[in-house]
């Protein structure tokens, strides 16, 4: 009992630590990465005894210190209570969503079988969306409590945008749910360990030599869903090209214009945590989660024959590493996006969400349904 509790706590701490650390590292990647993209040197000013550590000192030590020691300003006509509550509400959903995302298969530890996932829920994806839908409150409440027209505009924009893209995001995942037939993310990740040739209906068997060797990852089975989901996920994180709620050239800083110090840091960290969560979801739903291609529970089984047995611990380690690498990769893709494309206009954001993503997502559901019936 106590051991079980300890294991769960350990997993939870591990995941939260991973998300928060990754968020911190992302701050560095963003600063240095943007510099790389724009041909600058980037963060290099802060140093400890002359040691700048490629800007690590700047972003990991100096920035947080600066934020934490700054005055926590609350607008005199704002709402003190809600102004303080809002950053917490922005950070909370981003952190708890990761609870249902599996970061590895089971770990056999003596008699004990540990599922490498904090909470195994049979409604995993719904939980993700439920938490995601709470993310709006941080912005809306923060914007309102600031009693500032710029932040208000940002809040209104943000809530409209997030509601719109939640719809498209939810519908885009339905294709994945239909293919794998479960809402539990660990099961989805596990199902992606099979090969496409095992799923191929008989009347398409002529394709098996060409694509049969691919693992049955979401990206191969539901490519349209991936594009839709990733677009919507980027929109949900409110980053360029969807950063209308902040829109610094129009709204100064949007919904967090009146935030400073630690509270601003929380918004900031929340945004990075959302990036990590979005990357984790994309990885789990479309890129096999912790799967390494052809790596089964006892070792590699290659489709062209040949087996390579490996010790259990090594396999688990490889899985966790694979998951981490994939997540970091998708974080990097999002940062790359932010520094490569310009911002949409607001009507374009709405048109993309309602008139393009939503119909496409519906179409994807219909086509998937037809495909599933045809494949039976």
């Amino acid at each position: 009992m106590i051991v079980d509790l300890a294991i769960i706590t350990l997993k939870a701490v591990l995941v939260v630590a991973m998300v928060l650390n990754l968020a911190g590292v992302l701050g560095w990647i963003e600063r240095k990465g943007s510099a790389l993209i724009q041909d600058r040197i980037g963060a290099n000013r802060a140093s400890i005894f002359g040691f700048a550590g490629l800007g690590l000192v700047n972003t990991l030590i100096a920035d947080p210190l600066k934020f934490l020691t700054k005055e926590d300003f609350i607008p005199p006509k704002g709402d003190r209570f809600l102004h303080t509550l809002a950053p917490c509400m922005a950070l909370f959903p981003a952190l708890v969503t990761f609870a249902v995302i599996p970061f590895g298969d089971v770990l056999n530890f003596g008699e004990r079988v540990i599922n490498l996932q904090v909470a195994s829920l049979n409604i995993g994806i719904l939980y993700v969306f439920a938490m995601g839908s709470l993310g709006v409150y941080g912005i809306v409440i923060g914007a309102w409590a600031s009693n500032n027209k710029f932040s208000m505009l940002g809040g209104v924009r943000g809530s409209a945008q997030m509601i719109s893209y939640e719809v498209a995001m939810g519908l885009s995942v339905i294709g994945i749910l239909m293919v794998y037939g479960t809402l539990e993310l660990q099961d989805i990740a596990r199902d992606q360990g099979t090969l496409i040739r095992d799923l191929m209906p008989s009347w398409l068997s002529f394709l098996t030599p060409i694509v049969g060797w691919l693992p049955a990852w979401g990206i191969f089975l539901q490519p349209v869903a991936f594009i839709l989901f990733f677009t919507a996920a980027v929109a949900e994180t409110k980053r360029i090209p969807f950063d209308l709620p902040e829109g610094e050239s129009e709204l100064v800083a949007g919904y967090h214009v009146e935030y400073s110090g630690g509270k601003f840091l929380m918004f900031f960290a929340g945004e990075f945590a959302e990036i990590v969560t979005a990357a984790g979801l994309v990885t789990t739903l479309f890129f096999g989660g912790w799967q390494v291609p052809y790596l089964m529970r006892d070792g590699f089984h290659f489709p062209w024959g040949g087996t390579l047995l490996l010790p259990h611990l090594l396999i688990v380690l490889m899985q966790v590493t694979a998951f981490t690498v994939k997540v970091v990769f998708f974080c990097w893709v999002q940062i790359l996006l932010r520094w490569s494309v310009p911002r949409f206009r607001y009507d374009q954001v709405m048109r993309l969400g309602w008139k393009m993503l939503l119909p496409l997502a519906l179409l994807n559901v219909a086509v998937t349904a037809i495909w599933i019936i045809a494949a039976q």
């Binding site: 829920l121 719904l126 969306f129 709470l134 809306v140 309102w144 809040g155 209104v156 939640e166």
Partner: protein, 164 residues
Amino acid sequence: MDTASFIFYLLATLLVIASLLVVFLRNVVHCAMALVTALLLIAVMFVTLHAPMLCVLQVMVYAGAIMVLFLFVIMFLNPGALEQQRGLWWGFGTLLAMMLAGVLVPLVATSDLPADPVAATELFGSPEMLAKSLFSDYVLPFEIASVLLLVAIIGAVVLAKREN
């Protein structure tokens, strides 16, 4: 008192407080936030009743969608604080509430509810069970609901679209 009933009474107390705040707070946004709190507490109650699916749907539909739209509208209208109203309607409302209480309280007090209303099996409240009953026993209401939503969408567009 066992753990389950302790949790229930804790949640119930918080829920009543949150609901009272919805009524008695004077700032509309504060009221809305109190309502969100109440809805989230109900969601937690569903978990204690072995219905995680309902919990998640409650969060997603009420807290995540409906209340956000509430807040959205509140922000657009940006109303000031509500005035204290202690007029005739206040008395009327209180009277109605008392009458409702007069019906409900004896009802709860006299009815002997089964100790464990539903045997919480492994599948109870799972997506599979929900989907099964939704698409077999309740497929007609399900389909009519889709007509209803379509009508509501068309109606909203008709009323909201800008005249040429």
